[in-house]
Amino acid sequence: MGEVKLEHVTKRYADVTAVDDMNLDIEDGEFVTLVGPSGCGKSTTLETIAGLTIPSEGTITIAGDDVTTKPPKDRDIAMVFQNIALFPHMDVHDNMSFGLRLRDFDSEEIDRRVERAAEILQIEELVDRMPDELSGGQRQRVAIGRAIVREPAVFLMDEPLANLDAKLRVHMRTELQRLHKELDTTIIYVTHDQAEAMTMSDRIAVMNEGHLQQIAPPLVCYDEPANLFVAGFIGSPGMNFVEGTVEAEEIRTEGFDVAFDPAQVPELVEGDDVTIGVRPEDVYPAGEADELANPTRRIRARTDVLEPMGDQIFVYLVLRGEDAAGADTGTSGAASAQGADELLMSVEPDSDLTDDEDIEVVLDRRKIHVFDTGTGNAVCHDILRSEAMGGGHPGAREET
């Protein structure tokens, strides 16, 4: 009942194409999360599904019906808006029960559902307040409540937890998942919170500049990103990228080399320009290398900045390849594809590393991703044993 299908959906505004030839096929009861950088078209995609924006091209099908030009009210959806948009002239109770009252639910049922939602959202004492007497997070919860009391076939949620604190988010996450299971509705969810995306979704759809980059289960996106963009986007802090070229039996970069077995990894063609990707947690101080089955050779580096996070410490490394670059480009956190001389490593919080220390690190060779520098597409995700993978967008292909 809640399958959602987007075919070649494109939405153009005066000077931008917000969504470009989007194809999505979401199954009934699935929980799909849209992620992507700010302005990539996530909200616009939701709006086309909701019927608030008519796509410039393409068709949208919900539960088998072509609803492309149908008004929102005939689509059996509920939506949490990114801009919250509570009705200023109604109190919390009325805001939440709006959709139910429209459908002439009897007032007992309404009260029951509103009460239940208020409880889930921990806003029981606020039901009589007006929106302008609420804090930001309280407003957002009311907006969620307004959607969940409805129990529709499809939920669209646009960053519904953005203004909530970590505790509440975790709580809401669980509640939403429970709701999802209970009602068996399709949920299309937008978030910029990786943890949310990873833990809640059946599949993640990664978008960039209006294009779908990959749609796949969370761990697939994490472990086998379809291209440089997905690799850099999923995971926080992002994957380290180092450019290099494929030689006979190794990939050579400015700061280090990574050996591989050409027989196992036929995709790596000698002479190709490739980008090596490795996540911070797959970089280890050489001292801990014994844990690893397949470390690379040791790489000389100098610690630049240490960022303690409580449960881990991020260490910004400057590679000291032939001649180490100066330290002043140091603190730029976004290490994505910034060239060969930076590397971010995450270590246990009890590590005794200090600033400006010369150390050696190794990478976990099993966790090294290789991308074609030209197209950005993934070449292989395991330099030891190549798995069968198609060409460009493995995830995306799989779906269309």
Partner: protein, 325 residues
């Protein structure tokens, strides 16, 4: 950035040190009074003072034989005599005479107000809703719908008077053919009432439309998105979002339209005339015209009193709204 910092900072500092705008230091209450000062000044000299002095006139006798406006002080005699009907002959038409509702100013005015304002509200709302949409040529439709309001009452009256004037316009023939009007609509109270109401609705629906349109335009459009997604049909969107949110503007429009039409005069005078359709203001003007300034002043105050009673209905509603939000 660092280099220009100093400059920016320097300026900023001086801006902060510069003598602060004195109004900013006032309490909210003090500031409110300062803001209201021009209003109070203007209103008290140009409106309140004249009213006081007119009220003073209303407590005096008419002075038909002197170059003075009014005669000796008589207290509330004018009011008493007016309300007891002793002055009916002078008024031209009585204030309130239940035996002939269409000849007594209060009933005529109330009937007119009730019908005209109701129609104007409905039509004005309809027009505003049309103008709120977007369609090709909307700009011109908007002008077309709004310009009747721009027509001076003298012309508005002229149009309708000529249209129904036998020998000149064909309006009477048409209406008689339809069986609606009598042979001489402009001397027939009910026909004239209809003409005046039509003329008034034609002109002042635009007033309502304009104000309501402004109200509609101020509604945050994203609320409609929410409502749509919540499943609201067009009508439900109107009922739950549009209407409550334009209600304040609508109330202002209604309030002022009601007050204005309680004071209806010009359109009557220029069509059927005050003796065919006497309104409250007709009495004020006719006594004024015949030089009975004291009586006229008293009638004006009585009229204002009646208007105040009617306006009370809205004010109570307003108070509700204020409390509600």
């Amino acid at each position: 950035m660092a280099t220009s910092d100093e400059r920016g900072r320097g300026r900023l500092r001086s801006a902060a040190v510069a003598p602060a705008n004195w109004t900013e230091r006032l309490s909210e209450q003090g500031f409110a009074y300062v803001l209201l000062l021009p209003t109070l000044l203007l209103v008290s000299t140009m409106a309140l003072w004249p009213l006081v002095s007119t009220f003073e006139m209303s407590l005096r006798a008419d002075a038909l034989f002197s170059a003075e406006y009014v005669g000796e002080f008589v207290g509330f005699e004018n009011y008493v005599e007016l309300l007891t009907g002793e002055r009916n002959a002078i008024l031209g038409s009585p204030f309130l005479d239940f035996s002939q509702p269409f000849q007594s100013a209060l009933t005529v005015t109330l009937i007119y107000v009730a019908i005209a304002v109701t129609l104007e509200t409905i039509i004005g709302f309809g027009q505003a809703l049309v103008l709120d949409q977007s369609f090709r040529g909307r700009r011109w439709v908007r002008v077309a719908i709004l310009i009747p309001w721009a027509v001076p009452i003298a012309i508005q009256g002229l149009i309708f008077w000529l249209f129904f004037q036998p020998g000149i316009g064909v309006g009477t023939d048409v209406m008689r053919y339809l069986g609606i009007f009598s042979e001489n609509p402009l001397i027939n109270t009910t026909d004239t009432l209809i003409i005046v109401i039509v003329a008034d609705v034609w002109k002042t629906s635009a007033f309502m439309a304009l104000l309501i349109l402004a109200g509609l335009q101020s509604v945050d459009r994203s609320l409609y998105d929410v409502a749509k997604v919540a499943g609201a049909s067009k009508i439900q969107q109107f009922r739950y979002i549009t209407f409550p949110l334009v209600l304040p503007a609508l109330l202002v429009a209604l309030l002022f339209r009601t007050i204005q039409s309680m004071r209806v005069y010009g359109i009557i005078e220029t069509t059927g005339g005050c003796s065919t359709l006497p309104s409250l203001t007709c009495l004020v003007v006719s006594t004024f015209r015949s030089g009975r300034y004291a009586t006229s002043a008293a009638v004006a105050f009585i009229t204002a009193g009646i208007v105040a009673l009617v306006a009370m209905v809205y004010i109570v509603k307003f108070a509700d709204l204020e409390v509600g939000t």
